[in-house]
């Protein structure tokens, strides 16, 4: 049996009095896209933000349980910034920094001490190509990033994440602000990326999970209801709550 890339064991999360996640355990494999679906407040974003320790930014956050990546406990002796470099994140709304396209991509590598112009150019080109944006922006790398369209901005954010060479990419509802055509482009990029990365995709859009993910996890009110192969979840779920949600009876 292949050992999992990420292993989550009995993960329990509270924000003050709110019990956001209850005893969740699951494994995520190398080079797969794990879709995470569920209604609002189901704990899916809290789950995602536990993997790059973004919940740490919230003052009254408490957690128990264990998350390991390649067998290493990420809440143990691991340096948080190093972890986040390894586990990239793409946010719900595209957030270009108020810099040029080039500088947006180069921002991450520069944080990690790369200053050679030549090296940065290589990284930027490679990242933009991987995010399928290179052809659209190669003539205007010096232009401000916020002049791009919404879909381009989101692919820019993907490229920016790729530029620091992560192993895992967390997508937090990455298409919630995009039109169908832009969404299709982002989804295509994700499918191409999975050959080299492990991807966790949190989405409100169950159809997106059906289209893109290899396996899908369904969260409800902080609990992991079930996790299985995507076609199984969508055709013959084990739990009636899952089928109710997928068929649109609530949420």
């Amino acid at each position: 049996m292949v050992s999992p890339k990420i292993s989550v064991k009995d993960l329990d999360i509270r924000f003050g009095g709110i019990h956001a996640l209850k005893e969740v355990s699951l494994d995520i494999m190398n080079n797969e896209i794990l879709g995470v679906i569920g209604p609002a407040n189901s704990g899916k974003t809290s789950f995602l933000r536990a993997v790059n320790r973004f919940n740490d930014l919230v003052p009254n956050y408490q957690m128990s349980g264990r998350i390991t990546i390649d067998g290493l406990d990420i809440y143990g002796q691991v340096d948080r910034n190093g972890l986040r470099r390894k586990v990239g994140m793409v946010f719900a709304l595209p957030v270009p920094l108020p810099l040029s396209i080039f500088d947006n991509i180069a921002y991450g590598p520069q944080l990690h001490g790369i200053s050679s112009r030549k090296k940065l150019c290589e990284i930027v080109e490679k990242a933009l190509k991987a995010a399928f944006l290179w052809d659209e922006v190669k003539d205007r790398l010096k232009k401000p990033a916020h002049n791009l369209s919404g879909g381009q901005q989101q692919r820019l954010c993907i490229a920016r994440t790729l530029a620091v060479e992560p192993e895992v990419i967390l997508f937090d509802e990455p298409c919630s602000g995009l039109d169908p055509i832009s969404t299709a482009k982002v989804e295509e990029a994700m499918l191409q990326l999975k050959s080299r990365y492990t991807i966790v995709l949190v989405t409100n859009n169950t159809k997106q999970a059906a289209r893109v993910s290899d396996r899908t996890a369904f969260f409800l009110m902080g609990e992991l209801v079930e996790i299985d192969k995507t076609d199984k979840i969508f055709t013959a779920p084990a739990d009636t709550r899952t089928s109710d949600y997928i068929e649109g009876r609530f949420g």
Binding site: N81, V95, L97, P98, H146
Partner: protein, 281 residues
């Protein structure tokens, strides 16, 4: 009454009130320029006052004001910016922090003469700096500190949280994030606040009254522990303490003072409007 007519009358009254606010200030500035421009000459700006300030220039007062302002900025800008970074980015949001923030906001409204008393008590007397440039600069610096902190905090708070999250998500440390994302985007706001604070410091008289200002000292200071003359105090002295001064000298002093202050304000306005045009989030 016909509502249209009521509206017309009401708007006319509002307009009159607005003119009551705006017109006098234009008249004041015009008056100072008209009566003071004649006094302005290279000699007026660069020579010592003579004959009990009734003749000669205002050079030491100009130099004194510049020293005081420079000293105040040197002290208050780094301290104020760092303190606001601490309060917005590092301090926990607890009861104590909120109390400190509230106290600082309120200090911005404390009368300047109180800062004068404080400077007298702490710097002049307790620390034995005497009435000196250093006492005056520190007093002015502490007076503008709340202004700088409040403006900087507002500017730092206005940088979207998502920018910070992006930087952290790429593996940036907290300080890298602050240095590369937060401060650059807050800088125009910080600068605007600082310049406005400084222009206030340049025009204030009460805080320097007992901490540094010399009534009549026709020479330049030798060290930070010397007294100096300062423009606002000099204007006060000329207009109330010395009989029979040529009015052109008094107006000329006022003109130099408002020129310095208004140039600083203009600078702040330019920074702000350029930033507004660029800002897109």
């Amino acid at each position: 009454m016909n509502p249209r007519l009521t509206q017309r009358i009401a708007f006319a009254i509002l307009l009159i009130c607005t003119l009551i606010v705006i017109v006098p200030v234009l008249l004041i500035v015009a008056m100072i320029i008209k009566n003071g421009a004649g006094a302005i000459s290279w000699e007026f700006l660069t020579t010592m006052p003579r004959a009990g300030m009734k003749e000669g220039g205002i050079f030491p007062a100009i130099v004194g004001t510049l020293y005081l302002v420079f000293g105040a900025v040197l002290f208050a800008l780094p301290l104020g910016v760092f303190a606001s970074v601490y309060l917005t980015e590092y301090a926990r949001d607890n009861y104590f922090t909120r109390l400190v923030k509230l106290a600082i906001v309120n200090l911005a409204g404390v009368p300047s003469v109180i800062y004068g008393l404080f400077g007298l008590g702490l710097f002049v007397t307790f620390l034995h700096f005497g009435t000196s440039i250093i006492s005056g600069s520190l007093t002015l610096g502490i007076m503008i500190l709340p202004v700088i902190i409040t403006a900087s905090r507002e500017a730092l708070d206005s940088v979207p949280r998502s920018f910070r999250e992006v930087s952290l998500s790429l593996g940036g440390s907290k300080w890298q994030t602050i240095k590369r994302v937060v401060i650059p985007n807050a800088l125009p706001g910080i600068l605007t606040g600082t310049v406005l604070g400084v222009s206030r410091a340049a025009g204030e008289t009460a805080p320097i009254l007992f901490t540094v200002a010399a009534f009549y000292l026709p020479r330049l200071p030798n060290s930070p522990f010397d007294q100096v003359m300062a423009l606002p105090y000099h204007l006060y002295v000329l207009s109330t303490q010395v009989p029979n001064v040529k009015s052109s000298i008094t107006y000329g002093t006022a003109l130099v003072l408002i020129t310095i202050v208004l140039l600083m304000n203009l600078f702040a306005i330019i920074i702000r409007s350029r930033f507004r045009r660029r800002k897109r989030w």
